[in-house]
């Protein structure tokens, strides 16, 4: 019976072939490590956020007179409301954690390089949309941190040339963050995750065109690929189990560790808390904002600090295949960059003093410096590695790549049939 139904559908819609090509039979490099689990985890957390969010929205009220109390109502009266809210609040942090690891993996293994530039850029768009979604969601509980976070960040749009003040009022729908702001943030907070789902589809179509990278950094021959199912379904599920253990520890035992205490006080437009901090995932960028003494400069630096990742495919000029594993200097640079991120995160967290200001400014310079230096360092490293002597296979690979590139320039690429 089931067979006949599937047959009936296959006559009218490419169901079986789609499942076979893109899901179960999708050819996957056999050597993927656990760092390749994080894309799947990001997708999982996205589903989790949408599910918990929709059920929260059934009880939440987007009205400044009611929203703070409606969160209390969810926490106290709604059946398992506390669970939904904690899952959603912790889920936002989990989402950023997973995405940051996913990006670090891509940087480390050089997976942003040709032919995966479009994957890197759609990923960059996803990061921006995720940031916007989380920022707007954070206003919804209408606590002190919600209110002042939204006030400070909407105020940044004053840096828009000529019409800065009007832009801020337009964004808020009021002279201050108010009821109009809350309502529109809720509407957009509901919308954006679905735009994210659309962008994820584009991300995946690009993935299935260029195929997964792998720890060796070399595109494996077909014989080294294995079908996604059951090998990677099971690997992803195992990783998911580990992830869920950590996630559950946060949800059930320390849910408040990620919620600022000040956000349990209702928003008060007449009184700023003594110390406003953004959520942890914004701290490094916030530190860069604060390190520049001028408003416009700070806003530009902060925007650039997020967007600069998009330039990586152009900045990395090395032709050595493989990731940081085979590139000692790039590897060093990668770890120094992570360290710099941590320093910035710390500086963004503590109340500003003249000392942290200087540390923040140095760390900001290092942040941008490490990007600007990539073209020179990667080229010098390539020369050094070549002089030191590369294995014959690698040399052949580099020659083949540059040969292919020449050929592509001469006549436009025609994709081989059957490699969809």
């Amino acid at each position: 019976m089931a067979h006949r139904i599937i047959n009936w559908i296959d006559h009218r819609f490419p169901l079986s072939s789609f499942v076979k090509h893109e899901l179960t039979g999708y050819p996957t490099p056999r050597n993927l490590s656990y760092w390749w689990n994080f894309g799947f985890l990001a997708g999982f957390v996205l589903v989790l956020q949408v599910a918990t969010g929709i059920f929260l929205a059934m009880h939440y009220k987007a009205d400044i007179a009611m929203s703070f109390d409606s969160i209390q109502h969810i926490m106290r009266d709604v059946n398992y409301g506390w669970l939904l809210r904690y899952m959603h609040a912790v889920g936002a942090s989990a989402f950023f954690f997973v995405i940051f690891v996913h990006m670090a993996r891509t940087l480390y293994y050089g997976s942003f390089r040709a032919p995966r530039e479009l994957m890197w850029w759609t990923g960059q768009v996803l990061l921006l949309m995720l940031m916007a979604t989380a920022f707007m969601g954070y206003l919804l509980p209408w606590g002190q941190m919600s209110f002042w976070g939204a006030t400070v960040i909407t105020n940044l749009f004053r840096a828009t040339p000529f019409i800065g003040d009007q832009v801020v009022v337009w964004l808020r729908g009021d002279y201050m963050v108010g009821d109009a702001t809350l309502t529109r943030f809720f509407a957009l907070h509901y919308l954006f995750p679905f735009l994210i789902i659309g962008a994820v589809v584009i991300h995946l179509v690009a993935l299935h065109t260029v195929k997964s990278s792998n720890p060796s950094g070399i595109n494996l021959a077909d014989k080294d690929n294995i079908p996604f199912h059951p090998y990677f379904t099971i690997k992803d599920l195992y990783g998911l189990g580990l992830f869920l253990i950590v996630y559950s520890v946060f949800v059930f035992f320390i849910p408040d560790s990620l919620i600022e205490p000040a956000n349990n006080i209702p928003a008060n437009p007449m009184q700023t808390p003594n110390h406003i901090v953004p959520e942890w995932y914004f701290l490094p960028f916030y530190a860069i904002l604060r390190s520049v003494p001028n408003l416009v400069g700070g806003v530009v630096a902060m925007a650039l600090s997020v967007m600069i990742f998009a330039f990586m495919p152009f900045l990395d000029r090395s032709r050595i295949p493989g990731g940081a594993h085979y590139r000692p200097i790039y590897k060093l640079q990668f770890y120094l960059f992570l360290l710099d991120m941590l320093v910035l995160g710390y500086v963004g967290y503590v109340p500003p003093t003249s000392q942290t200001l200087i540390i923040g400014q140095i760390a900001t310079l290092c942040y941008f410096g490490s990007f600007f230096l990539v073209p020179f360092i990667s080229k010098a490293e390539e020369r050094w590695l070549m002089k030191r002597g590369l294995p014959l296979e690698v040399k052949e690979l580099i020659e083949k790549e540059s040969h292919d590139k020449e050929m592509r320039k001469r006549k436009p690429l025609r994709r081989k049939e059957g490699t969809v």
Binding site: V152, D174, Y175, M176, M270, T272, P293, L295
Partner: protein
């Protein structure tokens, strides 16, 4: 219509361009109401004026009132405070005290830090903003950054000896 007119390439090109321009203008015009709907609505604009009775503010005391949802500080300055405010012009954004008050006794400023919009706290003489450490004097002038400008003076006028309306000069 003759066959030549139908296959006239220039005519086709022109019509395609014209249609695109008219269609584009239509789309742009349709966006206007959507964008405008996000600007403050009439009821938000209606709270543009606030009347404040000043009688119960003691000398040296401060009151915070809401105007357009923003905090406005009303400070009744003592003769010493007035003298201190008049003796300097501020440092970062110089402006004489006389330009910032209508009656020296009453300082009316918007309590929104010109850096990123936090509400400064009244501390000692003047205000301190805890967000990034800006300081303002008893004339609302910035004396320590990162704030770039003095606290803004809202439009207001005295309707009686002890009553002001904020929102209209």
């Amino acid at each position: 219509m003759g066959n030549e007119t139908l296959s006239d390439g220039d005519r086709r090109d022109f019509l395609i361009k014209l249609t695109s321009v008219v269609g584009g203008a239509g789309v742009a015009a349709t966006c206007v109401p959507f964008v405008a709907s996000m600007n403050p609505s009439s009821d938000v604009l209606a709270k543009a004026e606030t009347e404040v009775d000043l009688t119960d503010i003691p000398a040296g005391g401060m009151r915070t009132v809401a105007w357009q949802g923003k905090p406005v500080f009303i400070l009744r300055r003592t003769p010493e405070e007035i003298q201190a405010a008049q003796s300097s012009n501020g440092i970062i954004d110089p402006e004489p005290d006389s330009k910032r008050v209508q009656k020296p006794e009453w300082l009316v400023v918007i309590g929104v830090c010109t850096h990123m919009g936090c509400v400064p706290n009244k501390e000692g003489p003047g205000w301190t903003c805890h967000c990034h450490g800006s300081q303002y004097d008893d004339s609302g002038r910035v004396v320590r950054g990162p704030a770039p400008h003095n606290l803004e003076v809202p439009p207001y006028h005295f309707v009686a000896e002890n009553k002001i309306v904020i929102g209209k000069a």
